[in-house]
């Protein structure tokens, strides 16, 4: 319980740590997956986005 007075608060404390651990494990396992080459659609989108940024 780590000195916490209520099981539900202790659960929240541990779940925060557990969900962070989940993110770390997921990110580590998938660190190199999902890589894609930038295609024409992406490039067109990025050029248009750059134009919008410049207008701001």
């Amino acid at each position: 319980m780590l000195g916490l007075g209520d099981g539900m608060v202790a659960a929240a404390y541990w779940l925060c740590l557990a969900s962070s651990a989940l993110c770390i494990i997921y990110g580590a396992l998938k660190w190199n997956s999902g890589a894609e080459e930038t295609d024409e659609v992406d490039r067109h989108w990025a050029e248009e986005e750059k134009k919008i940024e410049q207008e701001l």
Binding site: M8, A12, C16, G34, W45, E55
Partner: protein, 555 residues
């Protein structure tokens, strides 16, 4: 005004670095889109830190940290949702689809993505208008969080602190702070991370370790019960009494409102589109999971533990009180006051820079969203002109929403006085709740369902918005009593207010565990919006196969 030299040097170094990185971004290829145009990779650390800096604002640290000092560690449930929903669910389940669909539809704003996917100009304009009208509330409370810290650290009035900070933000925006230069954001995220890490370590060390620190706070439960017991407080390391006023505020407004609302934040959804591939999103999950824990997790733990410091370690000449009373019931001042009293001055000054960074990175993404909502989503869509014509409306939009945000940061404090409620946290929660109710059903439907129809999306969004607005104006007493519409029409602060008591307050109406005037709009509006979206979609005409194939290409 003590020790101003060190702080001044830090501020100057920080602003110089931001200016230098901004200049490099201006001159070279340093924004996310530049990398994509050039087909280059961004270092995952740089990208994840820049995400984090946008996610977490001063309101999360100062406002919600202060709320934790009042309500206790029960709001750690929000940190759990921030990480599990705001990072894991958002990146893994929404990020990749948003990026692919956004690129195929050539959408550059959140309203534009929804408008093109749902083939509806109404959706784009409606979403844009909600951003224009309500995001200033969120930007306002972010400014308020930073101003509160400046007020306490420099010892000036809140008005002067707000003006000072608004000027810094205005200069930052004019100098190109909206361009989302990755290294600027990454620097800000890194400063925030280091600041919060040091704060956590020092707090636990000063209280004798993790378990001892928590135990000291647990031992103070009778004090909390004596002061707030009537509202359901059972101590700072316990959940509030089920169904009590505090329970509804913590669970329905703060935890659920912000925890779920993060999924439909316009300024965050567009960030998914600026990455090159799913790999970057996967990597951001790892670093984001640690970053958010270090931000809101630390703010909430330290906020709650500040009660031990204020109560058991009184400074000379000051009576020992709980945090809420030590800060004269100004919840937004608790974290700044705690730090200035109990943390080494150098850490306070470093933290000051961290908060400056947190506010600037968040505010810049907000003004980006508000400016493009005015120019691209509303003006261009209504006038049907594309390109050059929207530059002026966009810039005017940024100027007007900036003035509105600063005014709100000033007026909210005047109206609420910040007594008794954590207004910074509530302002954020209202906006997040509204986004969840109005946008989330159609956003998820747009990304995942071929069965959602235009009518279903529109009716669902309107239901979410109208029910939220009705609830804020006539039911949820915290807001309805201030907005005054209900009082003017019906002579009471909320339609569900009971009777006027001798102490000038209104009794509540309770049905079972439901305390109606404390039920957050999200609890009613969000489920209704989901139901209406589904039911209307089942009864109305679907999109053509060609449109759907175009939208879901590559997904």
């Amino acid at each position: 005004m003590e020790g101003m030299l060190f702080l001044t040097i830090l501020v100057v170094i920080y602003l110089f670095l931001i200016g230098y990185l901004g200049y490099r971004g201006w001159k070279g290829t340093k924004s996310a889109t530049d990398y994509m145009v050039a087909g280059r990779k961004i270092h995952p650390f740089v990208m994840a830190m820049s995400y984090g800096a946008t996610f977490i604002s001063t309101s999360a640290i100062v406002g919600f940290g202060g709320a934790a000092a009042l309500f206790g560690m029960s709001i750690l449930w929000l940190t759990f949702l921030n990480i599990f929903v705001g990072i894991f669910i958002a990146f893994v389940f929404l990020g990749a689809r948003t990026r692919k669909m956004g690129h195929h539809l050539d959408a550059h704003t959140f309203p534009e993505l929804l408008g093109k996917r749902l083939d509806s100009k109404f959706v784009q304009i409606f979403t844009g208008l909600i951003i224009i009208v309500f995001m200033p509330l969120y930007a306002g409370v972010v400014l308020m969080g930073a101003a509160r810290f400046i007020e306490v650290r420099i010892g000036v009035s809140y008005d002067a602190a707000l003006f000072f900070f608004a000027v810094i933000v205005a200069i930052y925006v004019i100098m190109g702070g909206l361009k989302g230069v990755m290294y600027t954001d990454a620097l800000q995220g890194t400063i925030m991370f280091v600041g919060m890490f040091l704060l956590l370590i020092l707090t636990y060390v000063k209280l004798g370790g993790v378990t001892q620190a928590h135990q000291s706070l647990t031992d103070m439960a009778p004090i909390a019960q004596e002061i707030f017991g009537g509202a359901g407080h059972r101590g700072w390391t316990a959940m509030p009494t089920f169904g009590s006023t505090f329970w509804w505020v913590v669970i329905s407004t703060i935890v659920m409102g912000v925890g779920i609302g993060v999924l439909a934040q316009p300024q965050l959804a567009v960030r998914y589109m600026t990455v090159k591939s799913d790999r970057e999103l996967n990597r951001a999950v790892l670093i984001g999971g640690i970053f958010i824990l270090m931000m809101t997790g630390v703010a909430f733990v330290v906020g709650a533990l500040s009660n031990v410091f204020f109560y058991t370690m009184p400074v000379e000449g000051v009576e020992s009180k709980i945090a809420f009373l030590a800060a004269d019931t100004k919840v937004g001042q608790i974290i700044p006051l705690f730090m200035s009293r109990y943390m080494p001055p150098m850490l306070v000054d470093f933290f000051f820079i961290a908060l400056l960074a947190a506010a600037m990175s968040t505010v810049s993404s907000q003004f980006h969203a508000m400016g493009t909502a005015v120019g691209r989503d509303v003006y261009e869509t209504i006038t049907r002109r594309k390109g050059e014509s929207s530059i002026l409306p966009t810039r005017l939009g940024i100027l007007l929403t900036f003035i509105l945000s600063v005014t709100l940061a000033y007026v909210l404090v005047v109206i609420y006085g910040e007594t008794g409620t954590a207004i910074i946290a509530r302002g954020t929660a209202i906006f997040f709740g509204l986004c969840a109710s109005a946008f989330l059903p159609m956003y998820v439907g747009a990304l995942y369902s071929r069965a959602i129809t235009k009518a279903g999306a529109i009716w669902g969004a309107c239901t979410g918005f109208i029910v939220s607005a009705f609830w804020l104006l006539f039911m949820h007493q915290t807001e309805s009593s201030v907005l005054g519409v209900c009082n003017a029409l019906f002579g009471k602060p909320s339609l569900v207010a009971g009777e006027l008591l001798d102490n000038g307050k209104w009794s509540g109406v309770r049905q079972g565990f439901i305390l109606w005037q404390e039920v957050d709009p999200l609890f009613v509006a969000f489920p209704l919006a989901i139901i209406v979206t589904i039911v209307v979609s089942m009864m109305t005409k679907r999109y053509s196969k060609d449109h759907l194939d175009h939208c879901f290409k590559g997904i």
